[in-house]
């Protein structure tokens, strides 16, 4: 049994928002609601879900950028310093680099903070990091504004790689890039993973990217995990209706789902029941739990789907 790098035990984060301008009533919004999983060394864990399902909050919880309402996050013995061993690449490359800093200062900042390099080694280390992400050395003295989205994402990655982390959280790292650039960045990530035995937590809303990139996938909806399985299993035999409709929407551009996502919990029973096309009476009364339906295949559903057709012509 390998020791996981990080283990989340029943972690939750609730926010409280004012109902409207005049009322003092607060509404509870469960951004992350009782989630447990662990990340093993060298593994790529995909976190898939639509916007505002709590993916990014979960990432921030792991990084202690937000404090959990409930639950705990346990780091394995390999993680000695969270700020060194766990890094993140952000979604928006135009927003995640300080516009007033030169590239050299950006990628060396983590090393200066953790006092890893001295003045002499600085420029060598900077060049090494650039080589790692396949950028030329002439970028060092320029400002972020001179670069395209793909290049900025590489710079962001160089900064994340500077401290030799064990885990990198990738928050939609390619979703704002053009298709051709996406492929290059994903390939770079894979290469780095093999070379340094990195673990990735890969957050995305794009199922096809997740399928090509991840080993195991968690499907999130309204702060809860709907389904968890290995990639092949999940895409060939989805058990949860939400996973099914995400896959169908991606291949056929058709959606079976009713209505729209709503952040505020109104219903009893299963949280997915307002949108589910297969509801039965039980779904409105009892909330299901995430349980193992088959070997290593978990689903949050009373009536997991038996057969799945991709409906391709």
């Amino acid at each position: 049994m390998i020791e996981p790098l990080v283990k989340l035990n029943n972690i939750s984060k609730y926010y409280y928002v004012q109902k409207n301008f005049f009322s003092t009533k607060k509404i509870e919004v469960r951004a992350v609601d009782g989630i447990s999983f662990s990340i093993n060394p060298g593994e790529t864990l995909g976190l898939v879900g639509e916007s505002s399902c709590g993916k990014t909050t979960l990432a921030k919880l792991i990084l202690r950028l937000v404090t959990p309402t409930k639950g705990e996050i346990v780091f394995g013995s390999q993680i000695s310093d969270l700020r060194k061993d766990v890094q993140m690449v952000f979604q928006n490359p135009y927003n995640s680099l300080d516009p007033m800093m030169r590239i050299e200062d950006i990628i060396l900042e983590p090393l200066l903070i953790h006092r890893i390099v001295n003045k002499k080694q600085k420029s060598d280390k900077a060049l090494e990091l650039l080589r790692l992400v396949c950028l030329d050395s002439d970028v060092l003295y320029r400002l972020p504004q001179a670069f395209s989205g793909g290049q900025r994402q590489r710079i962001s990655l160089a900064r994340a790689m500077a401290t030799n982390p064990k885990i990198i959280i990738l928050d939609e790292p390619v979703s704002s890039l053009d298709v051709m650039i996406q492929g290059q960045v994903l390939k770079l990530l894979k290469d780095l993973q093999l070379k340094f035995n990195l673990s990735f937590l890969f957050i995305t809303h794009n199922l096809s990217v997740a399928r090509n990139f991840c080993d195991q996938i968690l499907v999130m909806y309204l702060g809860k995990i709907m389904e968890r399985a290995l990639v092949g299993e999940l895409f060939n035999k989805p058990m949860h209706p939400y996973t099914e409709s995400l896959i169908l929407a991606s291949i056929q551009k058709k959606s079976k789902l009713k209505g729209d996502i709503s952040r505020i919990r109104l219903t009893r029973g299963c949280i997915f029941n307002p949108r589910c096309p297969y509801t039965q009476e039980k779904c409105f009364n009892i909330e299901p739990i995430l349980e193992e339906k088959e070997n290593n295949h978990f689903a949050y559903c009373h009536f997991p789907l038996k057969n799945f057709s991709r409906g391709e012509k």
């Binding site: 950028l65 310093d81 700020r83 927003n95 680099l97 903070i113 953790h114 900064r159």
Partner: protein, 273 residues
């Protein structure tokens, strides 16, 4: 070179900075530029109108007005720079702490700012100066201590919006300390509005200094300052128009210079973003 072309293209910045640079030049080189010592009394030549000998005329003690205005520029700019320096440092400090840490600290500091803004500043300065003795040092400090609230508010609002940006999150992820985040990441990005309000603050500080000197609570004679030249001119207002016109014009041009420079910089930074 590009920066000079940009400045030239931005007419407000261009004219503003020319006026200010000219003033700074005059203030620094006043002893060499002026033909007379500003406190040389020549009783044979009192209240002389503008002429070749005394370009802007002389005052009731026969002192050369041009020299006095040039030396007054030195006093005014010195007061402006140091007072604004003090207020900017206090403003940045309070504003960034309030904006960055938020919660009760923010409320506390901002209520303090509100409190400071409630006082009629000018009377506050007057009464403090009346208790202490009026001197250039005291004036600079007191103006600095009573004019930082605007900058504090601007810095706070900048910090509030900047700290939501992803690069600040990124800095936290790599383990940057709060001080590092504020100094290395937040303040450089808030520099534009800080510079603009500092430049506009210069105009305010110079105006306050002139007003204080005019009331006799500022720079004390014989050191010339635009304010105290004006008060001496008050007695001879009917017969020597140049004694009030030219110092008044000097104040006017200076304030105008700082104002259009500040306004121009504001537009410039807006376009830059």
């Amino acid at each position: 070179m590009k920066i000079f072309r940009n400045i030239y293209n931005n007419k407000l910045v261009f004219f503003g900075s020319i006026i200010i640079l000219l003033l700074v030049f005059i203030a620094i080189f006043a002893p060499w530029l002026s033909r007379y010592d500003p406190s040389d009394i020549d009783l044979n030549n009192i209240l002389a109108g503008p002429s070749f000998k005394n370009i802007l005329g002389t005052d009731s003690l026969g002192r050369d007005l041009l020299s006095r205005i040039m030396f007054g520029a030195k006093v005014s700019l010195k007061v402006g720079f140091i007072a604004v320096g003090i207020s900017t440092i206090i403003g940045i400090f309070i504003g960034s702490i309030a904006g960055f840490f938020g919660r009760w600290l923010d409320s506390l500091l901002m209520r303090f700012v509100d409190l400071m803004l409630c006082f009629p500043t000018f009377f506050l300065i007057l009464s403090v100066i009346a208790i202490l003795e009026p001197s250039i040092t005291n004036i600079m400090i007191i103006i600095g201590l009573t004019s930082w609230m605007g900058i504090a508010r601007i810095v706070r609002s900048q910090v509030l919006s900047l700290k939501e940006r992803e690069f600040i999150q990124a800095a936290k992820v790599i383990g940057a300390s709060n001080a590092r985040i504020i100094i290395r990441h937040l303040l450089p990005n808030a520099l534009g509005p800080i510079i603009v309000s500092a430049v506009l603050g210069m105009a305010y500080a110079i105006l306050v200094e002139s007003s204080l000197s005019f009331l006799g609570l500022g720079v004390q004679p014989p050191t010339p300052s635009w304010g105290n030249i004006l008060i001496e001119a008050k007695a001879t207002l009917g017969i020597a128009w140049w004694l009030t016109l030219f110092p008044g014009l000097a104040i006017f041009i200076t304030i105008l210079g700082f104002d259009i420079l500040g306004e121009g910089l504001r537009n410039w930074f807006k376009n830059y973003e």
